[in-house]
């Protein structure tokens, strides 16, 4: 089950000096690339901390914004964001899981239906989010009559993260060795048992990766929400109210509100912290689920 690449085995056993120095060069390049990526991330983070950390406090997180966001906090905005994300994931997770199972386990890889769905998903995954926003506005807000609302925004995001979720779960399921399926069937296990007891647990890393990617895309989303969940920065009373997401708040403060930069930075810092937090929770959870599965 160890999928890591045996670097030692790859580089060992070569004797010529030229290939050895080529190895060293390659290793140096890999290190430089890795260092560059980390450096960009830390530079970004330190910039956010430098400009935004001063504003951070408990009251910033819970208070309502005042003076168009220049002062006050982001309480209602955090709440709206949480609602939007909860709806997006609550809808896309079951639908995505079901579709992934259908694609990976029920249809054969060559079947026309599966190919069609897969191709559509790949196209959808690459569609710019503003297009999702326009679609969400036309369909959820106007056709379904939801208006500018948290529900419309959440559903629009669900459509947007669905392709990511489905594809990564499907890949996860397909990566499960065939011998689990054959071995399970040879023991008289039913399809449902094989799926729930063997395949899905083994595909959990893929699923978790999909959720993390989807969540990251959803929480960072601006364009798809402008036309669906809207701008209103009041505390939402229900999912049918309009609500402003964190990313829209940052955009608004940075672009439209002179003097809003400091709170924009602080809000961005909150957003990045949420992202980091969910990433670590998800990977911890994934590991735990797998561990439980192994030991129970």
């Amino acid at each position: 089950m160890d999928r890591s690449i045996p670097w030692a085995a790859l580089s060992g056993g070569r004797s010529s000096t030229s290939s050895r120095s080529a190895d060293r060069l390659a290793a140096t390049c890999v290190w430089i690339a890795a260092a560059a990526v980390s450096a960009v991330f830390f530079w970004l983070l330190s910039d956010l901390v430098r400009h935004g950390a001063g504003q951070l406090s408990w009251s910033f997180l819970v208070d309502a914004p005042s003076n168009a966001g220049r002062a006050g906090g982001i309480g209602p905005i955090v709440l709206s964001t949480a609602w939007i994300l909860a709806i997006a994931l609550g809808v896309s997770l079951p639908v995505g899981l079901g579709t992934a199972v259908l694609l990976a386990e029920v249809t054969s890889p060559e079947a026309i239906f599966g190919r069609l769905v897969r191709r559509s998903l790949d196209v959808l995954a690459g569609v710019p989010s503003i297009v999702f926003g326009l679609f969400g506005n036309a369909f959820f807000c106007v056709t379904l009559g939801l208006g500018f609302s948290i529900l419309a925004g959440g559903l629009t995001l669900a459509c947007m993260v669905l392709p990511i979720l489905i594809r990564s779960t499907e890949e996860g399921l397909r990566a499960v060795p065939a011998e689990y399926r054959l071995g399970g069937a040879a023991l008289g296990l039913g399809r449902f048992t094989i799926l729930t007891r063997l395949l899905l647990p083994a595909a959990t890393p893929g699923l978790v990766a999909g959720v993390v990617l989807g969540f990251g895309r959803a929480i960072a989303e601006t364009a798809a929400l402008i036309f669906t969940s809207g701008y209103v920065d009041r505390r939402p009373e229900s999912v049918f109210d309009s609500g402003r997401a964190l990313s829209i708040h940052i955009y608004d403060l940075a672009i439209n509100i002179p003097g809003g930069e400091r709170n924009a930075y602080a809000t961005a810092l909150v957003l990045v912290m949420i992202l980091l937090l969910t990433n670590s929770v998800a990977s911890w959870l994934g590991q735990r689920l797998r561990g439980q599965h192994l030991h129970s």
Binding site: E179, L182, A185, A186, L187, G188, L189, L294, H295
Partner: protein, 281 residues
């Protein structure tokens, strides 16, 4: 038992004259195939195989790579249902079960016909859960009963002393030979009548291989065993009967079958003679 025991050359028509004519086969027939063929799309894996496997004996299938031995095993427990584009024709009877009848309950069939694969394939679960999961699927849910079966089957495969103190640890942490024995225990837990083994020792080191081989030999008299092996010495050591498959015109055929001594020492077919001499294949 040593009276004129001879092997049978399987005619191209396929149907053996009497069900079992030679003396060694005093045992009743457990598995009976007639004109059995398995085809992947348009490519046949084996054609027209008619074979009788006696109850509670060990029957070895030998023959070169690609002659359809694994496919033959897969047809016996309908695992072939899972292989894409695969079609099985002919007749298989195991006990009173008409295997290829679409109305046959495959879950019940697979409970009676266990299978062990070349590569040990324990599930990524704990040792205990590996045995428990199929038991629960077949309606055995009492904890005490499951515990008893786990201990009995692990003892039967000689694993109990090695793992009794760590039943909760991952099965994948076991060595290859231990994993294969766990797979056997898992199959035995369902109290099958037939056990199909597809090159069960070939992925193991010599010592584990010997342990597993002795274990298989110990199943004689209690289970009907069909084992595919490339190891002719192994076939000779453990099998009562041998069936020799050969690839002819791109499809596997059963060439000759009979008691192990007859096939190895007095083969009737030239192909068999050459193969068991190790000259071909």
């Amino acid at each position: 038992m040593t009276t004129t025991v001879s092997s049978r050359i399987v005619s191209s028509r396929g149907v053996p004259s009497a069900a079992v004519s030679d003396g060694a086969l005093a045992r009743p027939v457990e598995i009976r195939t007639r004109s059995l063929s398995l085809i992947y799309g348009r490519k046949p894996a084996f054609l027209d195989v008619s074979l009788d496997v006696p109850r509670h004996g060990i029957t070895a299938l030998i023959g070169p790579s690609g002659c359809g031995k694994s496919s033959f095993l897969a047809s016996l427990n309908r695992l072939s249902d899972l292989l894409p584009g695969c079609r099985v024709e002919g007749e298989i009877h195991i006990g009173e079960i008409d295997v290829l009848d679409p109305a046959t309950d495959v879950v019940a069939l697979r409970r009676r016909v266990g299978m062990i694969f070349q590569k040990p394939n324990p599930f990524p679960l704990s040792i205990r859960r590996n045995i428990e999961l199929p038991l629960k699927e077949h309606g055995i849910r009492q904890r005490a009963e499951i515990d008893a079966i786990v201990e009995r089957t692990l003892t039967e495969v000689g694993l109990w002393p090695e793992v009794s103190d760590r039943l909760g640890s991952p099965a994948l942490a076991l060595s290859g030979g231990q994993q294969q024995r766990l797979c056997l225990a898992r199959a035995l837990a369902l109290t099958p009548e037939v056990i199909l083994l597809d090159e069960p020792c070939s992925a193991l080191d010599p010592i584990s291989s010997g342990v597993v081989e002795d274990l298989i030999a110990s199943l004689r008299g209690r289970y009907t065993v069909v084992i595919v092996t490339h190891n002719l010495a192994q076939a000779r050591r453990i099998a009562d009967r041998v069936a020799f498959f050969w690839l002819r015109d791109g499809a596997g055929r059963l060439i000759e079958e009979g008691p192990v001594d007859a096939v190895f020492d007095h083969p009737r077919d030239e192909l068999t003679a050459a193969y068991v001499r190790g000259a071909r294949g």
